[in-house]
Symmetry: none
Subunit: 215 residues, 2 copies
């Protein structure tokens, strides 16, 4: 393994030899930045040039930043999925309420005229919203995907690469699966899960992958 090592000053990992790198790592965890004194101290402990220690910290910061971007992406993705499900739920609820209003208004036909608000702005939110397309598979982006919230993706990706530029080869199609339980402590807790996606906020039998419940 050390065959290729040049005779001159070698890399940090080799000098620090697999064990002492942790010293650098621990030091980095404690403090992102490197004060001059800590630098010389670390250099002394590791038998490296202070310059090398400084460089190591610089590169370590760069690495951290990249990883952080990946983490943030995954977090945002999860939030997005949640929010999407939330919105779709609201759409449906909205639909339900509209028909309810319609029903009630009908029943009021004999009495008074309905307050006149009923059918205004009927389906604004459901129909006119621009479809969002966002990248999906975080795992495809980098080898170390967080693995979270991959539950519902994957089956229905349509391989529509509209941009032709992204590493992502499929467009986000939506979909969410949530399982809950009653919080009142009752034992017969009914649980439900439904699927929907943003292109089909209305649960249509064809797109509806499944629907189950248990207790």
């Amino acid at each position: 393994m050390f065959d290729e090592m040049p005779p001159e000053l070698t890399g940090v990992v080799f000098v620090c030899a697999f064990v002492e790198v942790r010293l650098l790592e621990r030091s980095f965890e404690a403090e992102n930045k490197l004060e001059p004194e800590r630098k010389t101290e670390l250099a002394r402990q590791l038998g490296l040039q202070p310059r090398q220690v400084a460089v190591w910290f610089q590169n370590r910061r760069a690495r951290w930043k990249t990883k952080q971007l990946e983490r943030d992406f995954d977090r945002l993705k999860a939030s997005y999925d949640t929010l999407l499900a939330d919105r779709d739920a609201l759409r449906q609820d909205n639909e339900r309420l509209r028909s309810q209003v319609a029903t009630l208004s009908e029943k009021l036909q004999g009495k008074e005229v309905a307050p006149g608000i009923v059918d205004v702005k009927q389906d604004v939110h459901a129909a006119e919203i621009i479809e969002e397309k966002v990248p999906v598979k975080a795992e495809d982006r980098l080898s170390i995907g967080s693995g979270g919230s991959a539950v519902v993706d994957g089956e229905r990706n349509q391989l529509v690469d509209s941009s032709g530029e992204s590493y992502f080869h499929d467009e986000y199609q939506g979909g969410c699966c949530i399982v809950g339980e009653e919080d009142d402590g009752s034992d017969d807790g009914c649980s439900y899960a439904v699927f929907a996606n943003q292109h089909h906020p209305e649960p249509d039998p064809d797109q509806l992958g499944w629907c189950f419940f248990w207790n």
Copy 2:
């Protein structure tokens, strides 16, 4: 500027001297990958080792990938913002509809009882859904933030920095609300909504905020 240049083989940019790098860039734009023949050809044209050309392409691909991740993040962020605004609009509409239903139900007092759906799950979407907290300022991450869509942020960020590690100063807390409908086509469609978050896909009683149903 060339004072510090070592006498031996210098870097690509120096040999290619500010103008000819474009040859590499153009070549890269045309084709991400580098076939052996193109490699030798480029090396010949630029007076570089084929090895150096290969390395240049490798590093160039890595750079591109990083940029791509940033672009994808910004895209996702924009979608998220749109979606958030969308959801908030739906919430408002929902409120409006609910009060409308209440009003209509009141007016019906003399006739029949309202269909029994009215006050169950009173304000689920508006009140009980946990506020999502997601990373906001894409501009803070990099100097070249997309700059768009700051619309919906800011009001609901709680500045809870649980990790203390992120460039973003607040953490996502999860929260989801799903509403479904029976897919059997029956008209009395039963709808459900449950809560969960990404850290607890399994509904655990402690984390489960609430659960409701109606029909």
